[in-house]
Symmetry: C2
Subunit: 330 residues, 2 copies
């Protein structure tokens, strides 16, 4: 889309909101803006490239699988050498709307986040030095970096900027709920609308609000009742050092929640029904009836938006100088 | 493409061959025919679906990565629990042209092959029973099986038929070499043509011939000189039981060989230059000069064809009844 066309689309979008449900706590997701296509295309390739891992087997897409709601649908992820990850992989979809990245918010933005897993020994287990050595040995990547950034060396700053630029395109507009927000009164069933009413009146929107229906704040897991888990993650305290932040986590987005099972930072809730039941009890002290629970679940499933649509990327081949992966070496 | 259009395209294609290099030992690849789109679309999803593995992490695409020439670019693959595979994963590209599947040809066709890795404890480590239980718990899959096959239960026969139908579309026409074969005399450089001349006159086309430039026969690895490897694979003997077939392997296709490094059944040759050098010495008793080797390599790189072009598939979500993956359970 050209910049001009995009501006027109944005205006039309803004106008449509003002004529619809503009006072709702959840707001429609704006369509993604691709300002720098060369940068986004490069970032897409890097996102899918397992050569950014020691094994040559794990890419960003391994745990943030864009065929599966931007998640791996595992309680906790599988890393290098089948390492069991410490925490549930959050969806990359709409992650640009998050106040910060990771469950504890330790990365301020997507670019800072992208550097983490590459060098994490329990995830991709590579080093930033080897990642750069790999990329600059691949002629087509060198060309694409020049096209995206202009002259200058391939640096981790550029690698992560490209990955972040791609991830910024991974927003999911046009959910049925957004259509309803934008004025299509037939977009939701009576049950789904009733589920939304229960969701709002219970106070869920105190945390799950905004475009992403979450992602904007850190909240304690277990406000009314303690949350019991064997997962040792301490949440936001790991970043702030403040005891008051113990067990405080970034509120996850509810966008595409139908696709991003299992739920919670420990992935302990296998189904939406279970997640809704636990949240209602421990966060707001409510026990939903089965019918109420089913309606809230029905509402949540209306938050599934358009999934990313793009051609499977083709990765540029290694050259004779490219370091070879070492999946079985310690 | 409609059946009629396809027939016209085939006739045009056949006519173009007769006017071009029709007597060459390598023949142009025919464009893929998609006869049953619903079946192919279903097979594509299954190919990308890690829920056909015990861990929920490994799909067909993990080791036959369609972003990387239909291979994993590893010497031997990584399986469940980081199991080290016994043999190099052959590319899935153009695999429909193979005389049989696997290096030892133990599967007669793609459908038979597709059943293997799902239940192999060192690969996807699932069972066929659990694969079916998983698929029938996913409403959208059940619908798509009905659309592709008509009434009847979801069976492994149907699962593997769909995967094979998708794989049959993974052919790679329009390589520069094929353009030359079809009459475009400017498609190859002098060096590339000279490389092809060396390739032919050395006798490489005795094994690497036909549309796939390989894949049509089993041949002993080490005809003139023994091939030294620590890999214990015995090749075709494992199927025939005949001692004469020891160390006889299916001749790999050279199509897209630029993308499918490392080479040989043990993945021991990291580069094309190394693979050409070893093949020349042990199969035909030649020692190429560096210039000859470089020209053969240049020719081989002209065999890279159009890679599969399709939208990243979106997998249907699990239901509450879907068995959950168990990546860390023995």
């Amino acid at each position: 889309m050209s910049a001009k066309l995009f501006a027109v689309a944005c205006l039309a979008f803004a106008a449509s909101i003002t004529h619809a449900q503009s006072n709702e706590p959840i707001q429609p997701i704006r369509p993604p803006a691709v300002i720098k296509p060369a940068l986004v295309e490069l970032g897409k390739k890097l996102f899918f490239d397992p050569r950014l891992s020691k094994s040559g087997f794990i890419s960003c897409n391994s745990c943030h699988n864009l065929s599966m709601g931007g998640s791996d649908n595992l309680a906790t992820s599988i890393g290098h050498n089948w390492h069991k990850g410490p925490i549930n992989a959050p969806t990359v979809l709409n992650s640009s709307l998050n106040v910060a990245q990771f469950w504890d918010g330790r990365a301020k933005d997507l670019q800072e986040q992208a550097a983490g897993p590459i060098a994490n020994p329990g995830e991709m287990a590579f080093t930033h030095e080897l990642a750069i050595e790999t990329l600059i040995s691949i002629p087509q990547y060198v060309t694409e970096f020049q096209q995206a950034f202009g002259p200058g060396p391939v640096t981790m700053g550029r690698v992560t900027e490209a990955i972040a630029a791609f991830e910024e395109t991974l927003v999911t507009p046009n959910s049925r709920f957004d259509k309803w927000l934008l004025g299509d009164t037939n977009a939701l069933t009576t049950d789904e609308l009733e589920g939304y009413r229960i969701f709002k009146s219970s106070g869920c929107t105190a945390c799950h609000n905004g475009q992403a229906a979450g992602g904007a704040s850190f909240r304690k897991m277990g406000v009314v009742e303690p949350y019991r888990t064997s997962n040792p993650a301490e949440g936001r305290m790991a970043v702030t050092g403040r005891d008051a932040d113990r067990f405080s986590f970034k509120v996850p987005t509810l966008r595409n929640v139908e696709l991003t099972y299992p739920y919670f930072h420990d992935g302990a809730a296998a189904t939406l029904a279970e997640a809704v039941d636990v949240m209602a009890r421990i966060q707001i002290g409510k026990q939903y009836s089965p019918a109420e629970n089913a309606r809230v679940v029905a509402f949540l499933k209306t938050l599934t938006g358009d999934q990313p649509q793009f051609l499977l990327p083709q990765l540029p081949p290694s050259s004779d100088k490219t370091p070879r992966p070492a999946p079985f070496k310690n």
